[in-house]
């Protein structure tokens, strides 16, 4: 019983990280109606940026975010301005193909620059610490990651629902044509949105790099988990993405109790079953 509880808690903590992977994807899907295939590779890119900063300065991975976040914002803004805006709104296939190409470019660029070796962000003793609560062992780093994930979701939800920029975003998400009529410059808004999406990616990538070593080809797997979290929760439903991530995490770990080799398989299985039973996602699709 105790070990089941331990599995459940570890699953929730892992799921919170998956949810954090998904937050950016949820935003770009919900607002910009764009599937970014390079999302996972951008997470890995963020982890590499952080590792370069950690190696060349005295900063630890978490404080490297001070530099990584602005860098990722600029990268996102530029990507949208120079690349994505050219294909937006034409047909759903063009952004898909474009980001698919971008994914390959990023992977090869990282391999060229950093070789195929695995790297990790040194979390020091933090990564090894655990606390024991009534016979249940919980890792400190996963706990911190989950906390940051919850904070990130609260922050983004607040931004979308309460701020003026959020109402512009929601307006575009609801009806792009009408939003334009009332004076919302959607292309400029999209550029800032993409920058913001990459800010969430930056946070996710540093926590990811501290938990698991990464290599240039690790991106696609991250994409799958993010994508499942987003679709499971319902497209465009931010908190849906959060709970979607949690469900995937718990399903993986409970699945691993049945057969250790099939943990991720059970995550995918839950996703598929939900997709068949409720194609619109578990939670009612709401606003971004």
């Amino acid at each position: 019983m105790l070990s089941l509880l331990e599995t459940l808690i570890n699953g929730l903590l892992l799921g919170a990280l998956y949810a954090l992977f998904g937050i950016g994807l949820s935003l770009s899907l919900g607002v910009m109606r764009m599937i970014n295939i390079a999302h996972g590779d951008l997470i890995v890119l963020g982890a590499y940026l952080s590792s370069v900063i950690v190696l060349n300065t005295d900063l630890d991975p978490l404080s490297s975010l001070l530099i990584v976040i602005p860098m990722m914002f600029v990268i996102g803004w530029l990507l949208q301005k120079l690349l994505f805006n050219r294909v937006m709104g034409r047909d759903p296939l063009s952004p898909l193909l474009l980001t698919f190409g971008l994914s390959i470019v990023i992977q090869n660029l990282l391999q060229e620059l950093f070789s195929a070796d695995t790297r990790s962000l040194p979390a020091g003793d933090l990564a090894l610490q655990g606390i024991e609560l009534g016979g249940v062992n919980i890792g400190v780093l996963p706990l911190i990651s989950a906390g940051i994930s919850v904070l990130a979701f609260l922050f983004v939800a607040h931004l979308i629902n309460r701020s003026p920029i959020g109402s512009a975003v929601r307006a575009v998400a609801d009806d792009q044509e009408t939003a334009r009529l009332v004076g919302v410059n959607d292309r400029r808004l999209f550029a800032y949105m993409a920058g913001f999406v990459l800010v969430t990616v930056a946070v996710a990538s540093v926590l990811y790099g501290m938990r698991t070593p990464f290599s240039p080809t690790a991106g696609p797997e991250r994409l799958i988990y993010s994508f499942e979290a987003v679709v499971l929760g319902g497209l465009g439903n931010l908190w849906g993405t959060f709970f979607g991530g949690l469900i995937i995490g718990v399903a993986q770990l409970l699945g691993a109790r049945i057969d250790t080799g099939l943990g991720p398989f059970f995550g995918h299985l839950v996703f598929l079953v939900v997709l068949i039973a409720r194609p619109e996602g578990l939670f009612k699709a709401g606003r971004a």
Binding site: E6, G11, L14, L128, I138, R211, T212, P213, S215
Partner: protein, 429 residues
């Protein structure tokens, strides 16, 4: 009239085409006669080399550029075999860590470049030797347990192949090395095993033909929850089971990221075994560095270190000189594949020399079969290997020590190769 007109209009254009054709043909003849002249006194031996220069298996081929440059220098004057002088050309191909691409590259080297000998790294799978065996080109490969080379190609240990040869250690060899290390300190003899859910993991973790068979015969109690998926993010189920059983020793087959995840989670969940001996995860210093201080006293198999008391038949360098030259020239830390990949070229060149007729594939293949080479990783002996067409290779056991933040591997067990000196005694974690 019409006919005449047609003929007239056709003549000049035909003439032009003929002129172009003739010029092209003349050019080709000129080029051939030029090269024929150059080859009059010496022939060219072409060696193909396929390795994972990029992709997830790239660390195995990291030293390739350095090694090939050295080999090219030592062969700059060509080879004289059977009284005839040959120039040697090495054609290098990257398989991008993909078995399909490795097959294509091998086929291209065989059909378009007409290589006389193929050398290959088969850490991803034996696609290159398979092509060579099909097309009758002699091939020597390494960088994978010989079982993972022979059985996927459908070979039988007592039959072997006609053109494909391989040198490496076998699964039982490293199992004995592990067991030798573990027996040096007192434990409860309970081993927790974690094998990755892929072809190498299934092969090495096989209860009958894999490492567990050796451990069981040596009296160890084996605890296995199940395979883990490649790229696993979580090991809760395994660690819970190991804690419950009071496991002292952990072993298995890991890629570096999975191992780092397992180690961190073991600490978090307060699981503290006395010995941790993963295969593959601790081969490269980069994988060890990620673990930080927690890698201290973790143990693994060693295929080659600068402490090996052997020297190269090609350059005359000792193991230590080879690794020092590498580190000076590239500024990178030495890795175990450096010695092994160097030895691959030693074996290849020796085979050409022994053949008497390097342009004859059957002569070369036959020469490899009876060949003994004293290489930088020790003697390779294809005549008396663990299976037909296979030469064994020394493998010893060692422990990583982290001193002043820098990882260094120390040989602690040499039962399988007593001529390699032990550097330190085995200690518990």
């Amino acid at each position: 009239m019409k006919h005449e007109k047609n003929t007239r209009s056709c003549v000049p254009s035909q003439g032009r085409r003929d002129f172009l054709k003739t010029t092209a043909a003349l050019g080709t003849v000129a080029a051939f006669s030029g090269s024929l002249k150059a080859f009059a006194s010496s022939d060219v031996i072409r060696i193909g080399y396929v390795s994972p220069k990029s992709g997830p298996f790239a660390p195995f081929a990291k030293a390739d550029d350095f090694i090939i440059e050295q080999v090219r220098q030592s062969l700059a004057g060509g080879l004289t075999i059977g009284g005839k002088h040959y120039d040697v050309e090495i054609l290098v191909r990257d398989d991008q860590s993909s078995t399909d691409r490795a097959s294509n590259q091998a086929a291209d080297l065989i059909n378009s470049e007409e290589v006389d000998l193929m050398l290959a790294q088969v850490s991803i799978g034996p696609s290159v030797p398979q092509q060579c065996e099909l097309n009758g080109v002699p091939c020597i490969s390494t960088m994978g347990p010989w079982e993972a080379w022979m059985f996927p190609m459908g070979g039988k240990p007592d039959v072997g192949f006609q053109y494909a040869y391989h040198f490496f250690w076998g699964v039982f060899d490293i199992a004995r090395v592990y067991e030798g290390m573990w027996s040096e300190i007192p434990t409860n003899k309970k081993v927790g095993m974690l094998w990755s859910n892929d072809v190498p993991g299934l092969a090495m973790g096989d209860a009958e033909h894999g490492m567990p068979a050796v451990f069981k015969a040596a009296g160890y109690e084996l605890i296995e929850v199940g395979k883990f998926p490649v790229g696993a993010d979580d090991f809760t189920a395994h660690i819970q089971a190991f804690k419950k059983e009071g496991v002292d020793i952990v072993t298995g087959l890991f890629n570096p990221p999975e191992w780092a995840t397992f180690v961190a989670q073991s600490h978090q969940m307060d699981f503290k075994p006395k010995i941790m001996t993963p295969a593959k995860a601790l081969l490269f210093p980069s994988g060890v560095e990620t673990l930080g201080q927690s890698a201290d006293r973790m143990s693994t198999e060693i295929w080659w270190t600068p402490a090996y008391p052997f020297s190269s038949s090609l350059t005359g360098q000792t193991a230590e000189q080879l690794s020092n030259t590498y580190m000076n020239q590239t500024g990178q830390a030495w890795t175990q594949p450096l010695g092994v990949a160097h030895a691959l070229f030693e074996a290849g060149i020796q085979a050409l020399k022994n053949s008497g007729d390097p342009k004859n594939p059957d002569a070369v293949a036959e020469a490899i079969g009876s060949m003994q080479v004293d290489s930088v990783i020790g003697r390779l002996d294809f005549a008396n290997g663990p299976a037909k067409n296979v030469s064994g290779m020394r493998v010893v056991g060692g422990q990583w020590r982290i001193e002043a933040g820098k990882p260094e591997i120390m040989i602690t067990d040499n039962q399988m190769a007593p001529e390699i000196p032990v550097q330190r005694t085995f200690e518990s974690l």
